[in-house]
Symmetry: C2
Subunit: 187 residues, 2 copies
DNA sequence: ACCTGAACACCGTTCAAGT
DNA sequence: ACCTGAACACCGTTCAAGT
């Protein structure tokens, strides 16, 4: 790939992140191209369509998620496994809250958006399963919790993050879910 | 309103429900009009725009939610308050799961969609507050749970309902949340 | 009063022409 | 190889003409 092409690729992603961050709910491809300083044709040369562009944003976000999960695993066993898991989920939610582009992609994205991040999502599942296993072993996480429940509950918290209301607070939502995950004290 | 106009109004809502139920993610206004047997102009005579149409679908769904909450209140005190609340939430989630049109409206709707159902949502909040109060009184619901958390967690479960994945199960999600809501046994 | 559908606007996507 | 932007397709919405 030529140097100018690579630069354009980066500029397009950056322009998308900027425009979504500026608050409009959706952003036209035309506008993303203009902000990136390229023609629409160039945008479509780099990304098959809008879903592919959003897929790349999702992919980058999963790289961050996975780093948070790896940090959590690295903190074991000094940190109790449930607390390490809870911290990683709080970090992931915060990272989504700060990135309007990914949030839009998560909420409106069809299958093809997530297909672009399949490898990273696989790694996410593997790391989550490891962490969930460790937290169950020490009896801090309820025994019937499944690793696949992690993406599911995160999806729920994301929905709250994405539609802020005066009397909603996604941190409360997450803490409530964490509380449901925590094992009850055994008699 | 003339009889034929009233019939058209009903037909349009019915057509929208049908088409969304048939599985496409979104449905063009043109297609809704055709299915209802009217011109697009007529559709726009009955509903200011697409959001207003979806708002009416949301409004009807809230009528069902409120009925479920009233049933729960009527079952007190024979039924324990927390169980009555849990049943109502399960019924509401099931009703959303069976209505693709409302689900789409909930997930993609902007403020204006919910504005159309403002009165019904107010009643929902009132009923939910009453039920939450009763469940706290008997110590079955955790004391720091707020009535406003009900719509918030339901929004999270809706997100799971709306994007089914092979290893996700919205009923599990709801039960997990309910488990987080339940008061811990006091020492 | 209410209905109709051609026409317009907006935005995702393509492609012939350029460097 | 890569870039450009005019052109096309699709869909939400309007409005002049009809009953």
């Amino acid at each position: 790939m030529r140097a100018d092409a690579r630069r354009n690729h980066e500029r397009i992603l950056e322009a998308a992140r900027e425009l979504f961050a500026e608050g409009q709910h959706d952003v036209p491809m035309e506008e993303i191209a203009r902000r990136a300083g390229v023609g629409v044709g160039t945008l479509y040369r780099h990304f098959a369509d809008k879903e592919a562009l959003m897929g790349d944003l999702v992919r980058e976000r999963f790289l961050v998620f996975n780093e948070n999960l790896r940090d959590a695993l690295a903190a074991l066993p000094q940190t109790p496994a449930f607390e390490a898991l809870a911290l990683a989920l709080r970090q992931n939610a915060t990272s989504v809250a700060e990135d309007a582009a990914t949030r839009f992609a998560f909420m409106t994205g069809e299958e093809r958006v997530f297909a672009a991040a399949a490898a990273e999502m696989d790694e996410f599942r593997t790391l989550a399963a490891e962490l969930v296993g460790r937290a169950k072993e020490c009896g801090e996480l309820r025994a019937d919790f499944d690793a696949a429940d992690i993406p599911m509950v995160m999806c729920g918290v994301c929905a709250t993050i994405d539609r802020p209301k005066p009397d909603w607070d996604w941190r409360r939502h997450l803490e409530l879910v964490l509380s449901g995950m925590r094992a009850r004290a055994t008699g």
